[in-house]
């Protein structure tokens, strides 16, 4: 690789050609602060917080986009630089709602952190023109408070990355604000609820709609049986909210915390994932053998499903009719489990802990209540759960490791890898291949569909069939796959799509990591690793070997794809307009 040599703060640096000053500085352990910068998706040099001095340059330059060059001399921490950064912060604060104490991001706000670092001692140094904005709480999953927005445009970049671009900068000057076309509410545009804007926001301008009060009210109601189940990826991310390193599997402490919060039963959505595999593998086999619509596309990711309804309605017949693991789990709780335990389903409150803001939309979709009751009453994100644990005075790091309750806490390694891109595909293949061939697989690892690449493809020989599969994550990547399917040129038989890049481990409901982590650490890979390790260590690694699943079919559902399974576990989709 061609390198260039420069000096940063009088230290010699050798950096790959094409590096920015920001990247070169990191090589010698200097972290230049950024606010608007997101690697590859928002390199706009707009916020001016990363200004540095370059010897001979007319003025300060933006380190995030300014290319490092041979012989360059850079100073990142001079009086002039520090003054400039402080001034920039004071100007940002002049139009910012500074009520930090009541802000959801207090303690985890990038602006707050920078103000502390650069010694901002008067948050009212300038009094800017302050247009007041109404909250937009029209959407099922999130709230936008433009009064806390600093116009960094990271949310716009995230929305564009998700191929939706339903938010952007409107008007100009002091009136500039983030909004949708014709100032429509978020609920009235083709937002897919993925929440990527929230996890990319540096401040409290964007946040999930907090439903934790509803959960506490249910827990405090003696007439309710409150059942919680946690999605596969939560165990890999919840620890981050309590200062544990990325990719720490905290399953045992998570279960312990949920018990201490007062949930009556703590179950694992992985069971729902195993159930999804039973139904989805069966559906796939039936489509292949009966000449059904192919490729079949997975339907576990509600952001993806909504995207398909808005942007590719002609491809809806390709979607698997399976409900997501969250919804399947709820349906089984309110039918089989309620019957077994002799609980009136009307008294059950089913709570899902999800990596996903779109789950708050999904549980309110039509046809998610075949038992007569909503499959899932409340969907909480990882972030809401972390706040509940904090406010209950539970010392998370010091909790003992506890086990899920049974029988719906029992799951396979196939269920746990649902949380990473390619995981559903791999889990489905384990079951579909064994079902089609009637033989046990030599190796359960379908490594071709692992990893954080946006589009992964592989071909497998199953008996006399060649099955071409694809796993895409991030809706920009999904679009490429979908355009081929729409054009009739796709060679795939089975496609997995996850709305969020990297899958659920990087979901819009996961703990917020600052841009510096998103830019320079393999967040998706580190979180996914915890899931693949859990799979490798699991005593049962195939959904169809899960004894609780076998019991469920034997006692209640009959066969995968049975009439009863269809009634409870499958759903339908309908085109949605782009704008209301």
């Amino acid at each position: 690789m061609e390198t260039i040599n420069l000096k940063i703060n009088n230290l010699a640096v050798s950096a790959p050609k094409g590096s920015t000053i920001l990247e070169a500085a990191r090589l010698i352990g200097i972290e230049i602060p950024t606010l608007c910068y997101l690697k590859e998706i928002n390199e706009i040099g707009a916020c001016r917080i990363c200004m540095v001095e370059v010897k001979g340059a007319r003025s300060l330059v933006t380190a995030c986009v300014f290319p490092a060059s041979e012989g360059m001399e850079v100073f990142t921490n001079t009086e002039k630089v520090r003054k400039s950064r402080k001034l920039t912060l004071e100007l940002i604060l002049s139009t910012h709602d500074r009520r930090c104490l009541s802000c959801v991001r207090s303690g985890n706000c990038e602006l707050q952190k920078l103000c502390k670092e650069f010694g901002v001692d008067d948050e009212q140094h300038f009094e800017g023109e302050n247009p007041r904005y109404e909250f937009d709480d029209s959407a099922a999953h999130m709230v936008r408070d433009n009064n806390r927005c600093i116009l960094c445009r990271r949310c716009i970049a995230a929305c564009k990355m998700q191929d939706c671009a339903v938010i952007g900068a409107n008007a100009r000057g002091f009136n500039t604000h983030i909004g949708s076309a014709f100032e429509k509410d978020l609920a009235d545009v083709s937002c897919v609820s993925c929440g990527q804007c929230i996890v990319h926001c540096p401040t409290g301008a964007l946040s999930e709609k907090d439903d934790s009060d509803k959960v506490l009210a249910a827990i405090n109601d003696p007439n309710k049986v409150v059942i919680v189940h946690t999605a596969p990826s939560i165990r890999a991310t919840l620890g981050e909210a309590f200062g544990l390193p990325l990719g720490t599997n905290v399953q045992g402490k998570m279960v312990a915390a949920l018990r201490r919060l007062g949930f009556n039963k703590v179950f694992d959505t992985d069971f729902g994932a195993d159930l999804t595999i039973m139904e989805e593998a069966n559906e796939f086999i039936s489509r292949v053998t009966n000449g059904g619509v192919l490729p079949m596309i997975t339907s576990c990711s509600p952001g993806w499903v909504k995207y398909c309804e808005h942007y590719f309605p002609q491809l809806l017949p390709h979607l698997s009719s399976c409900k997501s693991p969250q919804q399947m789990f709820g349906a089984i709780i309110k039918s089989w489990y309620a019957q077994k335990e002799g609980i009136n389903p009307a008294d059950i409150v089913c709570v899902g802990i999800m990596p996903c803001t779109a789950k708050k939309f999904e549980n309110k979709r039509d046809h998610q209540n075949a038992t007569g009751y909503p499959d899932v009453d409340i969907a909480l994100t990882t972030r809401e759960l972390a706040r509940m644990i904090d406010s209950a005075g539970i010392y998370f790091k010091h909790l003992p490791d506890e086990q899920f309750d049974n029988p719906l806490g029992e799951s396979s390694g196939a269920g746990v890898i649902f949380g990473a891109t390619g995981g559903v595909m791999e889990a489905a293949l384990r079951t579909a291949v064994e079902t089609l061939t009637g033989e046990a697989l030599h190796s359960l690892d379908f490594t071709e569909v692992r990893g954080t690449k946006g589009i992964k493809e592989a071909s497998y020989t199953v008996g006399d069939l060649t099955v071409n599969v694809c796993a895409a994550s991030g809706l920009e990547n999904a679009r490429k796959v979908l355009e081929e399917i729409a054009a009739g040129t796709s060679k795939y038989h089975f496609v997995e799509i996850m709305a969020c890049p990297g899958g659920c481990v990087n979901g819009g409901g996961q703990p917020v990591q600052h841009a510096v982590v998103r830019n320079f650490v393999d967040l998706r890979g580190a979180r996914a690793k915890a899931l693949y390790e859990a799979d490798a260590a699991a005593p049962i690694r195939k959904s169809h070997d899960n004894p609780a699943i076998k019991q469920l079919y034997a006692e209640f559902l009959g066969e995968p794809g049975s009439h009863k399974a269809h009634e409870l576990l499958h759903t339908s989709y309908a085109p949605r307009p782009k704008y209301k």
């Binding site: 564009k160 939706c164 671009a165 339903v166 938010i167 952007g168 900068a169 409107n170 008007a171 100009r172 009136n175 949708s180 076309a181 014709f182 100032e183 545009v189 782009k578 704008y579």
Partner: protein, 166 residues
């Protein structure tokens, strides 16, 4: 200034849409021609309401929000139609110091609409403009091509009345 979005019903014709589609077709997918298409569209419809921007969005495969963002950034784009009579009050320096703001407010009072808006009967619209080169007559306003100078707010009702009955 924040632009007001017209609530008047859209009355575009198939003929207008055909003209706009032809403009879009000429661009053959070149998204960098968005500004050009928007200018042409405004020429065809007089303004850029939701319906028109949606045609451009679909035709050029550009997100509607992006087009709306452009339309609210540049002063040249209007989100409300112009009336049969467009009242344009000069707020250039000379007119401003001679009391043009009072004139503008009187016009808004009389017509019960704000600057950048159109009356529901489609007769009048108001806009504030920059110097029209008649500083000697300040404060000045134009109604379509008619110029009125040395104005005071008291004259406004009488002037508007002439057009109402036309």
């Amino acid at each position: 200034m924040l632009k007001k979005i017209s609530k008047l019903p859209f009355s575009g014709t198939p003929e207008q849409e055909a003209r706009l589609q032809a403009v879009i077709a000429e661009c053959s997918g070149d998204k960098s021609l968005l500004m050009h298409v928007m200018q042409q569209a405004q020429g065809i419809y007089g303004y850029l309401p939701f319906e028109v921007q949606a045609i451009i969005a679909d035709g050029m495969d550009i997100p509607l929000e992006h087009i709306y963002g452009v339309s609210t950034f540049y002063a040249q784009f209007a989100l409300a139609p112009k009336g049969k009579y467009n009242v344009s009050v000069c707020l250039g320096t000379a007119c401003y110091v001679k009391g043009a703001q009072d004139v503008l407010e009187k016009v808004m009072d009389e017509l019960k609409i704000g600057s950048g808006e159109c009356t529901s009967d489609g007769l009048f619209s108001i806009e504030a403009c920059r110097c029209i080169g008649a500083c000697g007559l300040a404060p000045v306003m134009m109604i379509n091509d008619d110029v009125y100078g040395n104005l005071s707010p008291a004259q406004i009702p009488g002037i508007l009345e002439k057009y109402r009955n036309n």
